[in-house]
Structure formats: C-alpha cells, structure tokens
C-alpha cells in the first residue's frame, strides 16, 4: 500500500495522560489509518492500553485520570464536552483482554447492543445476531444453543462471542486490548484470522506485547516505550528498517 492512499481515521495530538500513579502517556501524536490493522506494541507498562482506552474514552472510568491533548475521531474531539460518549463508544467497539461475556444468553449477548440502541424488530435482530456470529466463525458452533448462558462457552468461543458483540452495533473502529493473551494457541490463531478479515470492513487497532503477533497482523505499527511514542510507520518499514535505536533493540529482543 502507498502512504498517499492512507486515510486517517483517528488523529491523536499531543496526548498526555496522568494517573494517580504517574505520567502514563507523554506527548503522543500519531494518526491511525482507516481500514487497516494498526498494532500498538511495546513492553508491559509502556502505556499501550491507556492509549487504546483514550480512543473510546474508557479512560474516563479510571479514577484520578487526567487527560490533555486531543483525540480526533472523524475530525471530532472525543474529549470535548460536546462529544457524546455513548455514540462514540457505539462507533468505536472494543475487545477486552479477557473474554468478558455479559450475564445473559449467547443470543442476547450479541443482540444486547443493537437492542439498547433502539432496534426492536425481532427479525432484524435475529439477522444481525446470525450475521455477526457467522462473521466471527461461531455460528455453526452455537446455532443450536443460542439461549444457553454465554459463560457456558469455552474461553476461545467467549472471546469470539465478544468480538461478535462489538461488531453487532455496527462500529467503524474495533479496538483490541491484547485480545489473545488469555487464550490457547488455536483460539488465538482464530481470533487473529478474524481480525485480518475484519480490517477490510473496519479500522482495527490491536495492542500487543507479543512481537510475533505484531508481525503477523500489522499494516501499521506504533511503538511505545515508557509512555513515549518512539516510532510509528508502515509495518514493513518498522520491522525491516527501524530508524530508532530503541525500536531496533526491541525488535531484536533486547527487552520485551
């Protein structure tokens, strides 16, 4: 892909985040390209998750978090008092680190989002549930037990269910916070495969501290170290010819 073609979906400008425990993100400025898979990588505690949680404002839930700078989504500042956080989160979905099904049936886990956002038509809901479950490759495994508790599924299935749940509200972006770290290798592979399919329709941002996963998935790479943005760029450039010494050290496994 050429860089000229890249459309920006999310623009981050001079983002600083302070928690009570310290200065987590320092002067981050970076653009997230549209309909590509962006990987945010870096060692544990470098602020990857915080950066992700700024994009859908889940950072609001952290007590004592102070955010300055801008995150522009489609040109709109998500932290401005005028922005509607529920609408933002509907448009920017999220897949958490551990599979986290809601306390309801498999069917309702997927139908819940659209229903709360106002869709009442049963037929349409059924169609959405079926489509989303097919998209994540879960339909054949669960179609005969849609009213079973979601927690009766295996962890890998639960994570795919969560992915189906997040795409059911028809988002534009999907944020994934180390989405495979709690899963077995086969389930992880499935999730990765799905993410690669999903980037055709959605902008996907994946946080990982697994370098090999980053190499398998990324179109675009953001490398964070100790709360600072060290380097970002198209995957092939970063992985084959990084400019920064720190990036090279990380890629060579000097630290992880």
């Amino acid at each position: 892909m050429s860089e000229q073609k890249m459309q920006t979906q999310i623009q981050i400008q001079d983002l600083n985040v302070h928690y009570e425990s310290g200065h987590i993100l320092k002067d981050i400025s970076v653009d997230i390209p549209e309909k590509q898979l962006t990987v945010i990588m870096g060692p544990s505690g470098c602020g990857k998750t915080t950066l992700l949680r700024c994009m859908n404002r889940l950072v609001d839930l952290t007590e004592g978090a102070k955010v300055s700078g801008k995150v522009l989504f489609d040109g709109m500042d998500v932290f401005s008092p005028k922005s509607d956080v529920t609408d933002l989160r509907k448009r920017i979905g999220m897949l958490a680190q551990r599979p986290c099904p809601l306390p309801m049936s498999i069917y309702n886990n997927v139908a819940y989002g659209p229903r709360v956002h106002g869709l009442k038509d049963r037929k349409k809901l059924q169609k959405i549930v079926e489509d989303c479950l097919k998209t994540v490759g879960l339909w054949d495994e669960v179609k005969d037990r849609l009213d079973m508790p979601a927690s009766s599924l295996s962890l890998g299935q639960q994570q795919r269910l969560c992915l189906a749940r997040s795409i059911a509200v028809d988002p534009e972006v999907i944020l994934c916070d180390e989405p495979t770290s709690a899963l077995d290798p086969i389930s992880s592979q499935r999730i990765e495969k799905k993410l690669l399919e999903l980037k055709k329709r959605y902008t996907v941002v994946v946080v990982t501290h697994n370098l090999r996963q980053a190499k398998r998935l990324a179109d675009y790479v953001i490398f964070l170290y100790m709360g600072r943005l060290v380097e970002h760029g198209p995957a092939e450039k970063i992985f084959s010819n990084p400019k920064e010494e720190k990036t090279r050290e990380y890629l060579n496994g000097k630290f992880s």
Binding site: L58, L88, R89, L102, P103, G113, V116, V169
Partner: protein, 283 residues
C-alpha cells in the same frame, strides 16, 4: 514441622466445633418450637380467626396473624426494595462512590442497622400521633420498611460492588449509559446477592415484634383496608406466651412454627423463581 501439622489439625477442630455449635443451637431452636408446637398445630389454627375465648384455650386459629404478617412483610419488602436498589446503586463508585456523602450514607446505614427495633416502633408511634394516624396496616408497613432498609441496602450494595469492572466496561464499550449498564448488566450479574439481600430484609421484617407493637395494633379480624389495625405472627407468639394457660402457650409455639414455615417457603419459592435468571450469571 510437627508444630505446623498440629496447628493445622487444631484449627480444623476449632472451625468444625464453631460451625457445629451454631448449627446445633439453630436446630435446637427449631426442634423446641416444633416439639412444643406441633401437638397444638391443627387445620383450624391456620384456617380460622380466633373465636370468643380463644386466648383462654377455646376454639379458633391465628389466620388473622398469618395474613397480617404476610401483608406486613410483603408490603414492607416491596416498598423497601426499589428504594434500596436506588440507594445501593447510588453508593457504587460509578455514582457517588467514595465521596464524603457516600461514605456518610454508608456509616449512617450501619448505625441504623444497629438501632433496636423498639426504637423504630417508638419513632413510628410518635410520628403517627403527630399526624393523627391510628395503628394500622399502613403504619406497620412503613415502619417495617424503615427497619428493613439498612440491611437491604448494605447487603445489596456489597453484592453489586462484587460485579467485576470488566463486565461493566464491556457494557460501557458498547455505548451503553451508566443507567443501562447498571440496570441491565450489573443487576443481572448481582442477582443472587440482591435476592439474598431481599430475603435477609424480609426475614427481619416478618420476624420483628417490637417495631409493630405500637404501630399496627392487634385484632382478631382480617384487615379490610390499609387503615385497619392488623395482627401479626410475632405478636401472636408474644401474647399467647404471656397467658397463664398451658394450651395457649402451646399455641404460641405452634404460631412460631408457622412463622418459620412462612420464612422457609418464601425463601425457597424466591430462589426457585430466580433460578431461571441466575443461570446466566457469569462465574
């Protein structure tokens, strides 16, 4: 090594002993109630209201007290439930959280929990006099609801607090508001705990005698409206035990047995009902 093994064994013996002591005393209570009450328990007892001379050992039953207690306890619990849920949700960190107001409310509830129920009764009585109200079902329901509130709120609050933040975040991340998340996700996940809170409060409400002593009055009739005085099982036990007649005292134990059965039946029925929803709780 030996010392640690000994410790382990001694601690286990202590735990078993303590559990046994508690279980044994509970069984002793139930046993004595049944042993003394069962001979006096007959169909008339639960189907008839007291006839003339009932308290001297003549015919009749305590249907008035059974119905009265059910009205009082269900009424009070139904009234306390929505209020408690609102307060319990407000005390979560998603809302008032650790503000001074939240902490102050929690502290006040703990104090109220410890206030003897006769004080609630006296308070209710004072207010009734002030308002010119008579002893009635309504007054009893209000006082019992007040009595139930602290225990219901605190137990609910703990149950709701146990819901993991991950589940809440999953809901927020879908674009749900706090209200939707709380009502549709958090409350569902906390349902077993919420039910326990309601049952605890119900148990306290139906078993309490002192708070309704002045506020409900006591009558041999079934209440026809909220403004009629009403009988209750705890007071039926109290009055019958206070008579000098052995048969009537026996009936007091029978009334206590009925009270136990009512609490047990309510608890079982509500757990059965809730099982339908509880299977979805994420463990």
């Amino acid at each position: 090594m030996n010392r640690r093994k000994l410790e382990e064994a001694a601690f286990k013996v202590l735990m078993i002993g303590a559990t046994f002591a508690v279980a044994a005393s509970l069984f002793a209570i139930v046993g004595i109630v049944l042993w003394k009450g069962l001979p006096a328990l007959d169909l008339a007892m639960i189907t008839q209201i007291p006839k003339g001379g009932y308290y001297l050992g003549k015919e009749g039953g305590i249907l008035n007290a059974i119905v009265g207690s059910l009205y009082l306890a269900f009424g009070a619990t139904a009234l306390a439930f929505p209020v408690s849920l609102l307060v319990a949700l407000f005390l979560q960190k998603d809302y008032s959280g650790n503000s001074w107001f939240g902490n102050f409310s929690r502290f006040s509830l703990d104090v109220l929990w410890g206030v003897p129920s006769i004080v609630y009764g006296a308070f209710g009585f004072t207010v009734m006099i002030f308002l010119g109200m008579k002893a009635s079902l309504l007054a009893g329901i209000l006082v019992l609801a007040l009595l139930e509130l602290p225990i219901m709120i605190r137990a609910m609050e703990e149950a709701i607090r146990m819901v993991s933040s991950e589940i809440k975040e999953a809901s927020y991340a879908l674009g749900l508001t706090r209200f939707e998340t709380m009502l549709k996700v958090v409350c569902r996940q906390a349902l077993p705990g919420i039910l326990t809170a309601v049952l605890l409060a119900f148990g306290r409400g139906i078993g309490d005698a002192a708070s309704i002593l002045f506020t409900t009055g006591y009558t041999d009739q079934l209440p026809a409206s909220l403004f009629d005085p009403v009988a209750s099982l705890p007071l039926a036990v109290f009055f019958q035990l206070g008579t000098p007649f052995a048969e009537v005292q026996q009936r007091a134990y029978a009334s206590a047995a009925i009270l136990l059965v009512v609490v047990l039946a309510t608890s079982l029925a509500s757990r059965l009902l809730a099982n339908k929803f509880m299977k979805y709780v994420v463990r």
